[in-house]
């Protein structure tokens, strides 16, 4: 059904009315009677032993209700914060995950790590109490440099050489052999800069304990409330899952940073029973900078072997990934299974070998951030390919095209453990070349040079593995949870529909997209579908939203549940029409049978299901409500071409992006407007990484870019008008043919920008972000 609100229509986002008029309901908007306020006391030292913490003055501060230290949680057997993905080293040994108490007990390992909490009648009272806490530390030299972390002082007793694991993927011997045969080798040493996620809504938690029912309720800013509940129940020992109700209401952005289970909600939910009153915490912006899990932060040496003719023969990558001070919830998977597996890119490189060592430093934990591993992989592959083309004096587009996996090669098994189901990379490239007016670049460059400016063009032909994830694949690789998604489609008596999903929107517009999907499939008005999410007591166990999984996995679950509704409804219709089930057709909300004028609407059948007068009660249960769990058979593989054109002010080194083209293959698209919005946001972040954003610690471990005075968020005037379009090779293994679009912009854009800047400057590499001074220095020749 192609209607104004059906699949393929750019329906305006229904949730936006409340978001932009200030009537959304976020965690901090929720207030409950008797509520108290929590303030965390955070380390100002990057590395120190805790000698003593004295809370007595805090406790006598007016308005202070309670003050706790890490030992208080330990006494109640509150567990450590776990890392949920077990990665193994080359030698088969398990990664080392150092103890991560929610509230530090013996030592603090990064600036911002909480070592005490104070609960007050007001935020101000709690802050007064926090200032009255007296702690003594033995300050130690922090480990700040990623590249030399393994040779630095040991941070955790259990982690020799500060190395969590030393992982590998691919065939080393075959790859080494490919390099021996190579006519040309391109190598690069690159740094993938640390980013800070900066969701517009800071993290928050409101914990309540109802003594009568012995039930805990946690409202928190989570991208995956069921996972939050699972970890708090099974690992942190708060309460059995059935006694723990996690609600994640409207969530204002996350980009991954709200996937994880953090110290703060753990402490708040625990403390609510301790003080017998609800406890609320909302991060201020400084806390967000210091304590949200950061992203990226890799140091990499990478080499590409090519034949005389320009065929890719082998790829060798050696990366050191910064984990920060502890292993955050999914940290270990990001530079391994979400990174090494993507090194084939869009190319037929026959031999690939990737080594990744994960190291600890005295910085905030690093975990998944929009793209999570795949932007880092794309950066490696696409910077290498572009550099190789320049070194070989061949056209950057043609070198790529020569090595593309072609449509007839699918399904294509890469040397790094993935099987791509479908794609048409040349189609995206061709379309992007046209938009970018590739052939006119030389004359545009000449014009810029006449004005004393430099102009450059850069490509990025990225691929991502999305729709996380086929559970058995993930579990065999060390995941601690299945990665299917749940759905329930509940038809109401009058034929309207409530959809429960385990995916959760933190800005993606699920209330619109999922409603479009269901209304289209059932032929009922879009307005008659409501989407419910973010509540462990309303949706079945699900895995939340990240990894561009919501439509591919969550949407597929909804589609399956909706199919079950249609199947049952047909049975009911057959009875009502005095026919057989296999005679009933359902189209556009109407049930018909052959050679008859009789028909039924979806609403009439729904009514009969709940008011079962004319209903086959001997064969069927009444009611019309179906559930589905969908476990994907494979990842999905969105891919595309991004082309960036920059112009550089030679006197100041300032880069302007004069054009940015993104042509992406997302398979089928439910709402093109929402998809375009997702691409815009991703591009802003990808460009932000290349030009503006940088999480910088100084050698003492202080976060220098710890506020908006210094951390450069991309703004509208930093960005050009994007040219965004799509191509489509529908996913072959999910019922909707969808691939997911949430991360593509952030995955593809960074390499395109840096390829353009290095092209303009005629340099091999430049550190990110390419600030004006960095570029100016490159122009000065040093």
């Amino acid at each position: 059904m192609a209607t104004e609100t059906g699949i393929g229509a750019s329906v305006r986002r229904t949730e936006d009315a409340r978001f932009i008029t200030g009537t959304g309901r976020y965690t901090d908007d929720i207030n409950v009677p008797g509520q108290t306020y929590c303030v965390f006391v955070r380390s100002t030292h990057a590395r120190a032993k805790i000698k003593s913490i004295d809370t007595s003055d805090a406790l006598s501060t007016p308005g202070v209700v309670a003050a706790f230290v890490g030992a208080d949680l330990a006494k109640d057997e509150i567990g450590d914060l776990p890392c949920g993905w077990l990665v193994k080293s080359k030698d088969g040994s398990d990664m080392i995950a150092p103890p991560h108490p929610p509230i530090a007990t013996e030592r603090v390992n990064y600036v911002g790590e909480p070592y005490a909490l104070v609960i007050g009648e007001t935020v101000q009272a709690a802050k007064d109490g926090a200032e009255a806490i007296v702690a003594e530390f033995e300050i130690q030299t922090p480990v700040m440099d990623v590249a030399s972390a393994t040779q630095s002082e040991q941070i955790h007793e259990s982690v020799p050489s500060n190395r969590s694991y030393d992982w590998e993927l691919g065939d080393k011997a075959a790859t080494d052999a490919a390099f021996e045969d190579a006519a040309h080798v391109t190598s690069l040493d690159i740094v993938n800069n640390r980013l800070i996620p900066n969701a517009i809504e800071p993290r928050a938690a409101l914990g309540s304990f109802d003594a009568a029912s012995e039930t805990y309720t946690l409202h928190t800013t989570s991208q995956n409330p069921h996972l939050e509940r699972l970890v708090l129940a099974a690992f942190v020992n708060i309460a059995p899952e059935a006694k723990l109700h996690v609600v994640s209401p409207d969530v204002g952005g996350g980009f991954g940073s709200k996937i994880f289970v953090y110290a703060e909600e753990t402490a708040v939910i625990w403390a609510s029973a301790k003080v017998g009153r609800p406890v609320k915490w909302t991060a201020d912006r400084v806390e967000s900078f210091l304590s949200d899990a950061h992203g990226r932060d890799h140091v990499t040496h990478a080499e590409l072997a090519l034949s005389e003719e320009g065929d890719f023969l082998g790829l060798r990558v050696k990366t050191t990934a910064n984990m920060g001070a502890y292993l955050s919830t999914f940290a270990s998977s990001v530079p391994t299974y979400l990174y090494g597996t993507l090194m084939a890119g869009q190319y037929k490189t026959p031999a690939i070998y990737v080594e990744v060592q994960a190291v600890f430093t005295n910085t905030a934990p690093v975990d998944a951030y929009r793209g999570a591993g795949r932007p880092e992989a794309t950066y490696v592959v696409e910077r290498l390919v572009e550099t190789a083309a320049r070194e070989l004096n061949t056209d950057v587009a043609e070198l790529r095209r020569r090595n593309f996996i072609n449509p007839e090669d699918f399904p294509y098994e890469t040397p790094v453990a993935l099987t791509y189901d479908t794609g048409n990379y040349a189609a995206s490239l061709d379309k992007a070349l046209e938009y970018a007016n590739y052939s006119g670049f030389a004359s545009r460059k000449a014009r810029s040079e006449a004005d004393g400016k430099r102009r450059g063009l850069g490509f990025s032909c990225y691929i991502e593995a999305c729709g996380l994830a086929p559970s058995q694949v993930a579990l065999s690789l060390g995941a601690g949870v299945g990665l299917f998604e749940s759905a329930e489609v509940r038809v109401d008596v009058t034929g309207s529909v409530t959809v429960m999903t385990g995916a959760h929107s933190h800005g993606q517009g699920h209330e619109t997209t999922f409603a479009q999907l269901v209304s289209d499939k059932l032929g009922i008005p879009f307005e008659n579908v409501s989407v419910v999410h973010g509540d462990t007591r309303r949706s079945d166990y699900g895995l939340g939203t990240y990894g561009s999984r919501s439509i591919a996995v969550g949407g597929s679950a909804i589609s399956k549940a909706t199919d079950k509704i249609v199947t049952k409804a047909k049975k009911i219709a057959a009875h009502m029409l005095d026919s057989e089930e296999d005679q009933v057709s359902f189209d556009d909300g109407i049930f018909t049978i052959p050679d008859s004028n009789e028909s039924l609407t979806f609403g009439e059948v729904a009514f009969s299901a709940y008011v079962p007068g004319n209903f086959p009660l001997d064969e069927l249960e009444p009611g019309l409500s179906e559930k589905a769990f969908y476990d994907p058979a494979n990842f999905t593989y969105p891919a595309g071409t991004h082309i960036c054109e920059v112009e550089i002010d030679s006197e100041t080194g300032t880069t302007s992006i004069v054009s940015f083209v993104a042509v992406d293959d997302f398979g089928n698209v439910i709402n093109p407007m929402i998809v375009e919005g997702q691409v815009h946001g991703g591009l802003a972040q990808g460009i932000g990484q290349a030009l503006l954003e940088h999480g910088i610690y100084d050698s003492d471990g202080q976060l220098v870019s710890g506020s908006y005075m210094d951390y450069t968020m991309p703004r509208a005037d930093d960005l050009p008008d994007f040219v965004v379009d799509t191509t489509s090779t529908p996913c072959t293994h999910n019922p909707l043919g969808v691939k997911g679009c949430g991360e593509a912009g952030a995955i593809g854009a960074t390499a395109a920008v840096m390829n353009a800047i290095t092209d303009a400057l005629g340099v091999k590499d430049l550190p990110m972000p390419a600030t004006s001074e960095t570029v100016w220095r490159a122009i000065q020749g040093g």
Binding site: Q124, V286, L692, M709, D710, E773
Partner: protein
């Protein structure tokens, strides 16, 4: 934020009285600097004295040879009503729309942030600062980083700019905050050339070598070779002292080009 008493003064005299009698008082203009400082508990004051209700501190007025900006005039008012183009341009480039609707010229120069734009205008256009007790010349007003000649309870009531025959302001904005990494105001008034630089050093300053060169010949080329001593310049993650020194030259030349 620590607790404080809030007062909304109806007159300059009342504001001053409240300030003098307070153990620790602070005037509140738009609060663009003061409120974040209080919120982060970086300041602990007993009395916040809001100047927002005092009519005589508002407005932008031009009379013949000078333009007078009230101490409480917000940046957007100056951006809309100033009769000196360079000042209009400067005000329109401060921060973001919210900041421009709240931030004031009095608050800006009283604060004397080394990266603020207005100090370059005040010094570069040789303005006179009017306070509730006296007038202070631009060359005497900015005494150091976050430091001015203002006395303890002294209020900036207005800033008076002589009408220049030509003036231009060019700023290289900090990509994050949009304050000036370097901002240069170049002007000529009654044959006197001024070049004031903000952002580069710990306090706004005049580039006298440039002023001399431009007095000889008002052209970008005359200052292109002048090297700037960067030994006391600011250095941070956005710009090293050396880069700032380079930018002073570029911004100054661009300002001169615009008006020559």
């Amino acid at each position: 934020m620590y607790s404080f008493r809030y007062h909304r003064a109806a007159s300059i005299e009342e504001a001053k009285e409240l300030h003098t009698t307070s153990d620790e008082g602070a005037y509140l203009a738009g609060g663009m600097t003061l409120i974040p400082t209080l919120k982060q508990r970086l300041a602990d004051v007993d009395d916040v004295i809001d100047l927002g209700g005092i009519e005589s501190l508002k407005g932008v007025m031009t009379s013949g040879t000078s333009m007078k900006v009230g101490g409480m005039a917000v940046h957007n008012e100056v951006a809309a009503n100033a009769t000196i183009d360079a000042l209009r341009h400067l005000a329109s480039g401060i921060g973001d729309p919210q900041v421009r609707n709240r931030g004031t010229i009095g608050g800006s120069i009283a604060n004397n942030d080394p990266a603020a734009d207005y100090p370059a205008a005040v010094l570069g256009l040789n303005a006179t600062i009017h306070t509730n007790g006296r007038t202070i010349g631009a060359d005497d007003f900015f005494t150091g980083m976050f430091d001015t000649a203002l006395g303890d309870s002294e209020i900036v009531t207005a800033v008076e700019f002589p009408m220049p025959s030509r003036a231009a302001y060019i700023k290289f904005p900090n990509p994050a905050s949009r304050y000036a990494v370097v901002g240069v105001m170049v002007s000529e008034t009654n044959g006197n050339v001024r070049v004031a630089v903000t952002g580069a050093g710990t306090c706004v300053f005049r580039a006298s070598a440039m002023e001399e060169a431009l007095t000889n010949e008002f052209a970008a080329e005359s200052i292109s070779g002048i090297s700037i001593d960067s030994s006391s310049f600011n250095s941070d993650i956005h710009a090293s002292a050396e880069y700032r020194a380079h930018l002073v030259g570029v911004m100054a030349q661009r300002a001169v080009s615009q008006i020559s």
